[in-house]
Each structure stands twice: as C-alpha cells, then as structure tokens.
C-alpha cells in the first residue's frame, strides 16, 4: 500500500501540516459561527481537505481520502450557501479533524485498527447527513451568474469550465465593459487585458451586447478575481471601462441581516446564509472518546522552521570555519621545525581565537535551540474549541479568552502540555463553573469566563488557567483530607488555606469518590502535576471561595538547556536544576533537629524536612562542620537537601537517561561540565516524593 518507510514518514509529515492548518482554520470558524463568514476561510478549509484527499489517495490511505472527500462535499455546500453554518456543522468538522489525527497516527505506526476504521465511517456519515439536506445535483454554478442567454451560448466549453472553476474556488465574477475608439481598440483592449490579468483571470472577451452610442466599439470582459471592488476600480481608473458584479448572491433570511439595511449590490463579496432546508433533529452520533491529543504526540517528530533561523545558523557555522582556519594556522606555526618555541604573541592570538570560538559555539547552540521552539498558539486554539464544546455539552455559558499565543516553547514541551492543559480547562468548565441560574443567584455574570494566558519571564514560561467559578471549598478539602488519612484532624485544623489548596494535587484526592466532595475540582490533578514535573515544571493554585481559581504552571522554556547549580556530595559532583530551588542556606550540625526520628530544619520560622543527599544516595558521608542546604519544592511539599559544597552555576544541556537507565530514581539525566566524565542531573521532584512520601519506595534500576 504505502511505499518505503521514508515515503510513509514524508506522507505523515505532510499530512500533519495540513491537519495543523485545518486546526487553525476550524478554530477561527468555531469562533465565527453566527457571524459573517469570510469566504477565504471556507476556501482555505476546502483546499486543505482537497490536498489531504489527494495526498491520501496517492499513498493509498483510503480512509483518510474518503473522509476528506466527505469534508469537501460539505464545504462545497457551505460555500455556495446551500447549507447554513451552525454549531453542529462545526462540531462535525472538528470531529472529522480529530478522526484524521487518530487515523494518521495509526498509519504512522503501521497499524490499522477496527476502531479507527469505524470511527472514520461514523465521521463520514455525520458529514453526509448534513450534505444530504442540501443537494446540489441539478445545480449548475453558472446559473448563479447574471448572464444573458446570448452570452452563455457564445461561451466556449473551456470558458464555461473556467467560469465554473473560478466559482468553485470562491472568486468573484465581474463584467467589465470597455469602450474604445475604432482607431486603436486593439491596443486599448490589449492594455486593459494586461492590467486585468495582474489581478485575476480574464475568462472571455466578447463584443458587448450593448453597443452604446456607436462612436466606438464596446467589449464585455468576463473577469474572475479575488480582489476587492476598490482595487478593481483603481486598476481600471485610467481606462475607459466600467464594471458590475455578475455573481448573484441569494437573499438572506435571518433578521440580523435585515437590520443592516438592504443588501448592498456588491454582494458577491459575502456569502449570505441561505435559508436552510430543515436539518434532521437527530442528535449527533455518540462521540468516540477524543484521544486525539495523546495520539497527536505520536504523530510528528518534525518541526517547521523559519528560514531566517536557519540562515543565522549557517552564519554561525561560517564564522566557526574561519576560527578553525585561524587555529590551524597557529598550530602550524608552532610546529615549524627550527623555529623557536611560540612566544607570548602567539599565546595571545590563540587565546583570542578560543574566546571567539566560545562565543560562536554559544550562538550556534542558542540558534539550534531556537529551531526547536514553536508558539503556544496551537494548543491555545484547541483549548478554545474544547471549552466551547464542553460548555455546550454541560449547558453552561462560558466565554473563553486567551493571551500569549506567540510565546514560544520547545516543541516537546508544547506536545506534552496539551493533555494537562486540556484537563485543567475541562475541570474548570465541568466542575468549577456554576450553572447560569446559580451564577445569577450569586449575583455573578451569567456568562462565566475561562482564560488561559502565557507569558515569558526570563527563561521561564508561565501559563495561567483561570476561571471565575466556585473556587475551592477549604472545609470540604479539610474533610476529605482527614477522611482519606492524608492528615490527622488536628493537623488539618491548623493548615492554612494555601496549604489546603496544595493538597488537591495529591493522589489521595483523585481517588475521592464524587466530584462534588471537592466542590469544584474534579479528578486527576495528580496526573496533571506529574506530567508537569516531567517537564521540570511546577504547578500551583490560587483560589478564593465563590470567586474562582487560577492554576499557575511554571515551565522552563526549553527542556534541553537548564540552568543548574553544581554541587558536590561525598566527592561526587551533581547538577541541580535551578528552577526547582527556592532558596539556599548554610547550616551547621547543631541546627538539625528530629521529629519522629526524621531530620528537620527550621528555616525562617518554618520547619521543613531535611534530607542528606549523601545518605540518600548511599555515599560515604563526610563529617563537615558546615553544610549547604538547597530548598526544593513548593508550598506543601518542601525539602531541604544537604550537600557538601556549592561549586557554581552553569547552563547545561541535559540528556535524559535512556534504555536500561531510564528508571533511575532521583536522577533526571546526565550532562557535561567539560570534563570527560558525565555529570548526573538530579530530579528534585522525585527526591521530594521519595523523602516526603516514603510509602512510595523508588524502584531501583
């Protein structure tokens, strides 16, 4: 069926790009339901479906080709105004997009499951249902034009075909009438055509049916173009020509249009919504669970790169080559037989080259990292669609705003963020946001607000997911925590609001039975937290009962480079990601106390657990008068990690441990500090888990 595996991966990459563009367009479409549709948008979606169909057919992917064909049919009817754009139609289109993702992921893996095939069929049927209500059989696009029968008779078959084609593609069709002098009409006509050709397609030039006043010779030019009326007017400004639109739009039914006054004559520019034939009332087919997001991750290991970035990389390489040449020359000089040993000047030159080398390599590295970055906007668009869908399903009224789509983050992070963000947003709408009645009772705006915003702060990215719903109920959290044994009742009474809120990330809470127990937050937040930790990120929550809640996710901009604190423990060197460290302190032995035989330390009025890294890692411990503490974690779970010495701070490239080593507990990866030996990078999250929740023993490698 498919060719070599290279052919397959090319197909998957190309198809994934088309799906990306479809995703963007459908997000815009989703937002514009009920408003005036831009024909360009529908055409863009049509073209994507069309390209996908062609690509899939070429590779023998019948399922995708078929569904794409179904999409084309639906879009055709939408474009021609035969079908009204409703939420249900958009839902069907989005469902098709999700189905494409699933099937494409399968294809990429070489699988072919029954489930995916059935899902494709279901999606096709759903599209077909809409198409069936808007038949096109006897319709000829040309009938939509105001053309005299005489003119139509005279058009050649090719010209008719071009006309139909242009209409299909959503171009506007005009009749340009020009009157020339008998003496130079050929030149004049040629000039006119040349001008028109720059902004569209001249379909046919005919002697005009209306000869005018007889002093000149008149022509009617049938012309198709996408440009605005104003542009056409300016192009024709020095010509003896006038124009009128030929595409006759249908009259509209919805009252909103009538409020705007009589439909303007150049209605060809807009697609009015036709009065639809009754759409069947049946509910949409039961949705197959949307696992498209987790499936998407399997899809592409490719990124789209701005050529400008590649150019700067090439520049950096070019400069490196120059440096290399210089170094080679210096080395050669030193090797000359008979020459005295190299002097200070030579030393200076070498030093200078090494400085340049360092700078240029730095540039190169930064450049390569940049290539991996993609904007967050993609995920934010999907979230918008999800919020609308979930709100509709749960019959709540929710507005969604998003900010910071242009913030760029490493591609791997973006892919991995998709699930957790979806989860948070779903939680917010499902559980955080009250019904319209309840909101009105509480004097809140009936339409709730969910917002996601991303900002760049130094080399970190902060993403806030907020809602103005119920917020967290401290009392309920206290009760659940006591009931599930996470804290004793005395302890629970003492916990502050902030500390209570951080409890909801514990796995114990996700097993709490009913959602209403937590009054506002659903299940699975520990999964979200785990996912975020895997990205070396942190998640926190702020909430005010009755007013709403905000989740704040802090992430390093790139997984690849991490700012690390280099420490030594028992003679071994480790790197600790700085974004996990909230403070550093130095202590002596007498500052250490114990509670139930577990070591603790008092820091600025708070007592937190202490772990000696040497002991944890089973290294021989050195008795030291003074030790350094790195405080890691946040709010509820903080830990002071004792190390022997602080060696400095450095930006390092972390390589995760792979293969047999991937379950190494407490270690996130290895890096290079310039020595030939790799240096291990700690996983503070895992260490905190191990020390603070000792029931969960780490699996040894």
């Amino acid at each position: 069926m498919t060719g070599s595996s290279k052919g397959l991966s090319d197909f998957v990459a190309e198809a994934a790009e088309i799906l990306d563009s479809l995703n963007r367009d459908l997000a815009i479409l989703d937002r514009s339901v009920g408003r005036r549709l831009q024909p360009d948008l529908l055409n863009g979606i049509f073209r994507s479906a069309h390209s996908l169909k062609g690509l899939a057919s070429m590779f023998g992917e019948q399922r995708i080709a078929q569904l794409a064909h179904g999409m084309e049919d639906l879009l055709d009817r939408l474009r021609l105004g035969r079908l009204e754009m409703t939420d249900e139609v958009v839902d069907a289109l989005i469902e098709s997009l999700d189905t494409f993702q699933v099937v494409l992921a399968e294809t990429g893996r070489g699988d072919r499951s029954e489930q995916a095939s059935r899902r494709t069929e279901a999606a096709c049927e759903r599209l077909a249902d809409f198409v069936d209500t808007a038949p096109l059989e006897h319709e000829d696009a040309l009938d939509l034009l105001e053309l005299d029968t005489q003119v139509r008779d005279v058009l050649t078959e090719y010209e008719e075909h071009r006309l139909r084609q242009n209409l299909r593609e959503g171009m506007e069709v005009w009749k340009v009438r020009a009157v020339f002098d008998l003496s130079d009409f050929d030149r004049g006509l040629a000039r006119l055509n040349a001008n028109l050709k720059t902004i569209g397609e001249v379909i046919s030039t005919l002697p005009s049916a209306d000869p005018g006043d007889g002093t000149g010779i008149a022509f009617d030019i049938i012309f198709a173009s996408r440009v605005s009326q104003r542009k056409l007017r300016s192009t024709l400004s020095n010509m003896p020509a006038s124009f009128q639109p030929l595409f006759q739009a249908r009259t509209s039914a919805p009252s909103s249009d009538q409020r705007q006054g009589p439909a303007p004559p150049a209605a060809a520019a807009e697609l009015r919504l036709a009065f639809p034939k009754p759409v069947p009332e049946e509910p949409p087919r039961p949705a197959v669970p949307l696992d498209a997001d987790s499936v998407r991750r399997a899809l592409t290991q490719t990124v789209r790169v701005d050529i400008g970035r590649l150019d700067s990389l090439m520049d950096a390489v070019g400069e490196l080559l120059l440096i290399k040449a210089n170094v080679a020359r210096l080395a050669d000089e030193a090797r000359q037989p008979g020459k005295p040993s190299p002097g200070k000047l030579w030393g200076h030159q070498l030093y200078r080259e090494s400085q340049l080398l360092e700078r240029k390599l730095d540039d190169l590295q930064k450049g390569i990292l940049e290539v991996r970055m993609v904007p967050l906007g993609q995920i934010l668009d999907k979230l918008a669609g999800a919020v609308r869908r979930i709100a509709r399903e749960s019959e709540k009224e929710v507005d969604f705003t998003m900010r910071g789509g242009e913030v760029e983050v490493d591609k791997l992070i973006v892919e991995a963020l998709s699930d957790p963000l979806m989860h948070l947003v779903r939680n917010a709408v499902d559980h955080g946001i009250e019904s319209v009645e309840e909101r009105q009772r509480r004097g809140k705006r009936p339409r709730a607000l969910v917002s996601v915003s991303a900002t760049q702060r130094g080399n970190q990215v902060v993403i806030d997911v907020s809602d103005d719903g119920r917020g967290l109920d401290d009392e309920r959290i206290r009760q659940v925590a006591v009931r599930t044994g996470i804290v004793g009742s005395a302890q629970a009474a003492q916990l502050s609001s902030r500390e209570l809120h951080s409890l909801i990330f514990l796995p114990g809470f996700s097993t709490a039975n009913r959602v209403s127990e937590l009054s506002g937050r659903g299940v699975g937040l520990d999964v979200v937290k785990t996912n975020i930790s895997r990205l070396s990120g942190m998640i926190d929550i702020h909430s005010e009962a009755g007013k709403g809640a905000t989740f704040t996710i802090t992430l390093p901009e790139t997984l690849a480079i991490v700012r690390a604190l280099v420490v030594s423990v028992s003679g071994r060197v480790y790197a600790v990601p700085l974004n996990a460290v909230s403070e550093i302190a130095s202590i002596t032995e007498k500052d250490v106390r114990t509670v139930e035989r577990r070591e603790v330390i008092a820091l600025r009025g708070k007592t937190i657990p202490l772990a000696r890294l040497a002991r944890l890692f089973q290294h021989p411990e050195k008795p030291l008068s003074r030790q350094f503490l790195l405080v890691v974690g946040l709010a509820h779970q903080r830990l002071a990690l004792a190390v022997d010495d602080l060696l400095g701070q450095q930006d390092v490239v972390v390589k995760p441990l792979r293969g047999r080593l991937r379950h190494t507990s407490g270690i996130a990866g290895a890096t290079d500090l310039g020595d030939r030996k790799p240096v291990l990078v700690l996983d503070p999250g895992a260490i905190i888990e191990e020390v603070v929740n000792p029931e969960r023993r780490p699996e040894l490698v």
Binding site: R572, Q618, L657, G669
Partner: protein
Amino acid sequence: MLEQFFYHPDEEVAGLFRPATEGDPATLASAEEESAIEYLAFLLEGECYAVPISEIREIVRVPPLTEIPRSPKNLLGVMKIRGEVLPVYDVKVKLKLAHERAGIAGPDAELEGIPSSSRILIVRDPDGDVGILVDEVREVIRLKPSTIEPLAPGIGGGDYLLGLAHLGSELVILLDVHKALL
C-alpha cells in the same frame, strides 16, 4: 591464527574434540556446507569468552566513568562517547569471576587497579547500547555452529553461556551478553 600450525595431541582423539579452526582438514570434511560465524574473543580473569562480532558496535579504551547512586551491583557507571551517555557493566559479577564490581567509578576510583589492556566493548542492544568492561580483547575468530559443544551439566552457565568451542588447546566460552547483564 598460529595455533593451527602447532602439534595438538588432542586432535588424535577424534570425536571428543573437534578443533574449530577452519583450515583444519579434520573438520572441513564434516562441516563443509556450513558457513562460519565471526566472534570477538576477549579475556575475563584469564578465561576466554566470545560474542558474535555483529553484536559489537565498537571497542574503546576505558574512559572516566560516573557512578550512578543506588544502582545494581553489576552497573559500573555511565560513560560519555561522542556526546552519548551509555551505561557500563561489569559482567564478572554475574559470571562469578568476582564478588563485586570493579571500583573504577566514583571519587575513590582506581583506574590503575584494572589491567592496562582493559577495554570497553560497546554492545548493540534494542533497549539502548551498553558497554561491557573486559580485561583484554583477543582476536576475531570464526566458528562453524556444528563445532560448538553444548555445556555439560555441572559446567555452570545458566542461560547466559551458549556453548564451548576450542581454539587449538584453548577453551572459548560463548556468551549471551544480553543475558549476562540481567
């Protein structure tokens, strides 16, 4: 291999020992249609082991290793090779040639404690390539499968030893290196 040119009293006892060397007429007759497989022979505590050469990615000198805290007994540590970080194992522990792994990683490491002929064999593995520490690398030998003797009961092994072969007077132990890492 020079072995084949020397007098081997064992060869007179046909049927018990079958020399593995290809040029030997005694074996050629019985094993003509088979094609030989190439193995890399190396030494561990004086014993000669061999692994199919197709499994070996490369052979390197022993670099400084970084130990992994709380790692299994046979994991010596990790090494860096051309930007890649690979685990390095000491198979002597599993083969009961040593009680504990060599102390060549960590701050108390004594690289002088191992023979200067020590090398690391980088072995291909679907779960990620690994390094194996060996005392000395010998040569590439060619063995026909029919000349490989299965292990008799009582000659240790478990499932990580695949058989014995004879290189003249020398005993070669065929190793399943992946099983020896477990």
